[in-house]
Amino acid sequence: MGVLVVGGKSIQTDDEGYLVNFSDWSKEVAEVIAKQEGIEQLTDRHWVVIEFMQKEFKEHGSGPSMRKLTKESGVSTKELYELFPKGPAKKAAKIAGIKKPVGCV
């Protein structure tokens, strides 16, 4: 278990840094996690990905596959790896406050 402090409030995370409760998520939380993941500034394009992941999570209980993400969000594979270098699915899920991706593709 880990703890993330955002704006004086302590938020529970698992050992890998994923939020335990999605209800703790806020844009401020996303920005703090993004910085920890090496992303200094979340741009509009980052938000397209984050919001798509959250929508999928709310509808299906888990984040989308990479293929679904790139096909339906309008963010290409290339761009996705540029926005979230070194492991986009996991990084984007973490910043979006949703569970760690479970799919293989």
Binding site: S65, M66, T70, T77, Y81, K86, C104
Partner: protein, 151 residues
């Protein structure tokens, strides 16, 4: 682990996919990935072959179809289509799209020079995502600081 090199040496559908899934999975984990296609594995990156790969229905005991049944006309097509349907459900893309996805994710795609020469192939025969045709020596040089997996 920071880099993985995966050799794909077989040209059946079930011979190609594990390597593609592992390479893509590595990239998703932030691990650099190199794919090296050799012998019949080259079919996976040859333009007119890549989307027609078939499941081997003969000499494949884990398929649980007797070889005598497996040789029946249409059997390989039938099993291949079934498998493709199941893969589509899991969002596993067709070979061409998968190679493109791996390439766009930063993965490198190489063809084995010895096989290319043996089959009298040219660079134009390959999918545009092919980075280069390389020798075994060049492959080892590129894989120096990583792990190598043979499939």
């Amino acid at each position: 682990m920071s880099k993985v090199s995966i050799i794909i040496s077989k040209g059946s559908l079930e011979g190609v996919y594990p390597g593609l899934i592992m390479a893509n999975g590595a990239l998703m984990e932030g691990i650099d990935a190199i794919l090296f296609f050799t012998f019949f594995g080259l079919d996976a990156i040859i333009k007119h072959q890549m989307n027609n790969l078939k499941v081997a229905t003969v000499g494949n005991p884990a398929l649980h179809i007797p070889s005598l049944v497996g040789i029946l006309p249409g059997m390989s097509n039938f099993v291949t289509n079934q498998m493709k349907k199941e893969m589509e459900k899991l969002d596993i893309p067709p070979v061409g799209e998968f190679i493109e996805m791996i390439h766009d994710a930063g993965g490198k795609i190489y063809a084995c020079k010895a096989t290319v020469d043996m089959f009298h192939l040219k660079k134009e025969d390959f999918y545009e995502q092919l980075d280069d045709i390389v020798t075994v020596g060049q492959f080892y040089e590129m894989s120096l600081d990583g792990q190598i997996i043979f499939t």
